[in-house]
């Protein structure tokens, strides 16, 4: 791990640096889902759309070849959406049904 790693942001949503990622990997977390749960990596609004590839490269460097890496889980919604729009969207549907 170099000094520089502390200045390289890997996960922009959760503000995690390359140093953070390397530290978690060295503790034995070797899948995207585990890294997410323990370190919030990819847990933010983009769900890892930016950081996943970078993390996968680090996992590969730490000895888990890409072909043996499990894909991480993506969960709905695809893009962040306000509680207000979800609530309003469904009441529109409800009023259409009633007509």
């Amino acid at each position: 791990m170099s000094e520089q790693d502390k200045d390289i942001i890997v996960c922009r949503c959760e503000d995690l640096t390359l140093a953070d990622v390397k530290r978690l990997i060295s503790k034995g977390y070797r899948t995207l889902d585990e890294l997410r749960r323990i370190g919030r990596l990819g847990m933010g609004p983009c769900q890892g759309k930016t950081c996943r590839a970078l993390v996968q490269r680090e996992l590969q460097a730490a000895g888990t070849p890409l072909k043996h890496q499990l894909p991480g889980t993506y969960r709905p919604p695809t893009r962040p959406i306000t509680l207000g729009s979800i609530a309003a969207g469904s009441s529109e549907e409800a009023s259409k049904d009633a007509q």
Binding site: P45, Q47, T82, A87
Partner: protein
Amino acid sequence: MHSSAEVVVIGGGVNGVAIAYELAKRGCTDVVVLERDYLASGATGRCGAGVRQQWGTEMNLRMSIASVKRFETMNEDLDYDGDIEFKQGGYLLLAYTPAGWEQFQKNVNLQRSFGLGVKLCTPAEAREIVPHLNTEGLLGATFNQTDGHCNPFHVTDAYAQAARRLGVKIYTNTEVLGIRRGGAGEGRIVGVKTTGGYIATPVVVNAAGGWSKDIAAMAGVDIPTYSERHQILVTEPVAPMQGPMVMSFHHHIYCQQTPHGSFIMGLGDAAEKPGYSSRSTWQFAEEMAQKITWLLPPLKGIRVVRQWAGLYNMTPDRTPILGAVPEVPGLFLAVGFSGHGFMLAPMTGVLLAESVLGLPASLPIEKMDLGRFARGELFDEPSVV
């Protein structure tokens, strides 16, 4: 992989690792934990992370109070290099019907008799605690400041690391396929068959969460647990605005802001059938959004970033089953947490370790045994979402 162990714990959720740690701490270090996927991949890593002591029955109360004491000093006690993020912002429980309010008053009397400083609040007082609460239709509320939130991944990690330091072996990606008993299959536990090989052991602890019934069946016992999907979502982080968990049994919902700033909220669906599905649905997101924006209107503008689901492992009286199974010497249960097994985990670990090692029990765990269903000595926990 180990070919023998003094104790095999099945399940790498918060309960499995807590039990393993407490065993090792009491000198029983030849312990193996088996987890099919990775640690906290089951209900533990999917839960609402709420820690509550405001229960309506004696054992839930006693276990949750003693567990909170342990959460308070867990970072130091387990010598954790991270932070379990314990926040004691309280739980505000809302009552909307005369019967609900009456039940709350009964609960509060019981809670106070165990030393909890629970307050009964008028709707106006509830609004002082949560200023953005819509009090329409609200009859009253109860509030306990020492309830709160704790990070389930970190609690699991803290126990796992502490257990490993004491010599416990944790095997992830290792599934239990069968349990062997001696005496032509009718005697005591003798071993466990796994995808990584066979482990000879005289003691198995079933801490398999949503799959507890399958594991018990492998040992030849039928237990009255079943699993039920529960859904949940989380928002983007925002500046701190809500101290306590807000919970309404009437609307079957709960909602709390975590120390990270995000809101976690979930909903119990009375129409949910027993099963093993943990898929999330659009219907849940709609119903959740409608209910919560009515109850806590300023949340309208906050964005949902993820929704998911996990399994509650239920029992007929919505209270866990803990301890030995007399018909199967060597088999122990820590199952059926009915949606509140994270907050009880510290005491579950202690009680199971004491039970396995034959030590005096810190709490009357015998009341929570499997035999209570045959004896008809059920708990009647009124306060479950």
